[in-house]
Amino acid sequence: MSTESGASALLDQSLDPDGYLRDHLQWSRPIAQQLAARAHIDLTNEHWRIIDLLRDYYARTETAPAMRPLVKLVQTEIDSALGSPYLMQLFGGSPAKMAAKLAGLPRPTNCI
């Protein structure tokens, strides 16, 4: 078994059926990369800026932001010209959800 497929099998055990980490404290940057690869997302510095922003936000508020506060956060912290099209380009159709998943935030129990 190659190292890569070994790591993948390990990750499988750590994920629930929807691909969220069972224990969000297990999150690491390599795990984020593997989660992203499964979602066919190639993590660039632009992705990482958002992921770091989300992790910092969660440390402050213990919540994952919905779309509107996420956009506001990105605009105040990164660039006021960025909006939801930018986030969708990076993270696909449900950017708040996907970015929170990749950032290892606890899976939300409330489907908004």
Partner: protein, 119 residues
């Protein structure tokens, strides 16, 4: 746009109704309602600033409260009578505007719906 008032009257770490109310308030704001919150009765304890909830394995009410501003929920009120009867000064608490009972009467009367946190 409807005006919705969320009442938080239970203390934060037993029933967890308070955090549920905060989540509901955020959802309401995301749905474009005009949202305000009032803390009264033992709900005022939710506003103490130095909460270390991880020590009891819970989310921190104080931290979740910080997120409200990001949903443009900034009408936070606290009942002055509830503070006085518990010997708490408004200055000891996190930011919320003190309202006397008469002001709470007016606040209630202008709502389209009041979502309580009883029990």
């Amino acid at each position: 746009m409807k005006k919705l008032l969320f009442v938080i009257s239970a203390p934060p770490y037993t029933s967890k109704r308070g955090t549920a109310q905060l989540e509901a308030a955020m959802v309401a704001a995301a749905f474009d309602a005009e949202v305000s919150l009032v803390f009264r009765g033992d709900g005022i304890w939710s506003l103490l600033p130095d909460q270390s909830a991880q020590q009891v394995g819970q989310r921190s009410f104080a931290k979740v409260l910080q997120a409200l501003g990001d949903y443009e929920v900034d009408q936070l009120y606290v009942c002055l009578d509830s503070l006085a009867s518990r010997g708490v000064e408004a200055a000891e608490l996190m930011q919320a505007e003190g309202l006397d009972l008469a002001a709470q009467q007016l606040l209630l009367a202008e709502q389209d719906a009041v979502i309580g946190a009883a029990l």
